[in-house]
């Protein structure tokens, strides 16, 4: 049975804190600020696509400070500093885990793409030929995290 858009929203809301606490040892909470995209320099965006019986994508966007904290735990970094490459590795893996968990709740068979990660100022990440069915804002240690789920547009 295909989950509804509300099912998917609730799934991401409950899944995300679990993923971030078990993988990156970070407490992540739904943000009271609503759907505020990270507005800092060097924002990271990671995207995985799901294709097959269900087609769409999951996009994670966060401030570099949050990606750095995740990287230090996930990659067992000895120092306080995480490189840009470390942050990309960490967010890419978190996107991969989020997408993989969501895929398990979607019609099968579906396949997960390789994650792509971008970093830059005023970063925009758009999945074309799709419509957004969920955009959920979280925060962790004062840093914003936004997770979007997009589904292929059927014309």
């Amino acid at each position: 049975m295909t989950p509804t858009n509300d099912d998917i929203k609730h799934y991401i809301l409950s899944l995300t804190p679990t993923i971030w606490s078990t993988t990156a040892q970070l407490e992540v909470h739904p943000s009271p600020d609503g759907h505020a995209l990270p507005d800092t320099a060097g924002t990271l965006g990671a995207c995985v696509h799901i294709s097959g019986a269900w087609e769409g994508a999951v996009v994670l966007q966060c401030a570099p400070g949050l990606a750095a904290r995740a990287a230090r735990v996930m990659l067992h970094l000895p120092s306080e500093n995480a490189s840009a490459e470390d942050m990309r590795d960490a967010l890419g893996e978190l996107a991969n885990i989020t997408g993989g968990n969501l895929k398990a709740a979607l019609p099968s068979p579906s396949h997960l793409s390789l994650p792509v990660v971008a970093q830059g100022d005023d970063l925009i990440v758009r999945v074309l030929k799709s419509r957004r069915i969920a955009q959920l804002a979280f925060e962790s240690e004062g840093f914003p995290l936004v997770i979007s789920v997009l589904m292929k547009e059927v014309k």
């Binding site: 890419g92 792509v116 971008a118 830059g120 100022d121 005023d122 990440v125």
Partner: protein, 154 residues
């Protein structure tokens, strides 16, 4: 890396320009991804699944993205226009689709994902996982764009 995939990316890009974009295109020699020092402002990306899991990236500086979009659409497109995003996404889709057709004849079969477009001045772009990648540079009137192909290592 399978040369057939790189050659298909180069051919698909040349075919696209020869049929849809009236601008002179000069292909360069494929290079390793780390040899590309240029930074780009608009990136289109499509995932590949099947016989060659990986991804294709199409990367432009915004000035060239606007020039290509303008030539393709037949009207002036500004560097900040949302049409840039639509055009780069569509170009990426067409290059990946062209590769799919070329490689199908060589018994390499794959599906392609929805196109993703990333915009941000001088942004970095990486395809994560254990992959090997090559970049094909193309010169258009002195400006450079690249087609990146990354395939999961076997």
């Amino acid at each position: 890396m399978d040369a057939r995939v790189i050659n298909a990316a180069r051919q698909a890009t040349r075919d696209l320009f020869s049929t849809m974009i009236p601008l002179p295109l000069v292909p360069g020699e494929p290079r390793g991804l780390k040899e590309i020092q240029e930074r780009f402002d608009v990136t289109g990306s499509i995932g590949l699944s099947g016989d060659c899991p990986g991804a294709v990236g199409l990367r432009f500086p915004k000035l060239l993205a606007a020039k290509v979009a303008s030539a393709m659409l037949g009207s002036t497109v500004s560097e900040t226009s949302i049409e840039i995003q639509e055009t780069v996404g569509e170009l990426t889709n067409m290059i990946a689709g062209g590769m799919k057709n070329i490689l199908h004849d060589q018994a390499i079969r794959f599906d392609i994902s929805l196109p993703t477009v990333i915009v941000g001045d001088n942004h970095t772009f990486n395809i994560m996982a254990d992959t090997e990648g090559m970049a094909i540079p193309f010169d258009v009137q002195g400006l450079l764009f690249v087609v990146e192909v990354c395939l999961k290592k076997k």
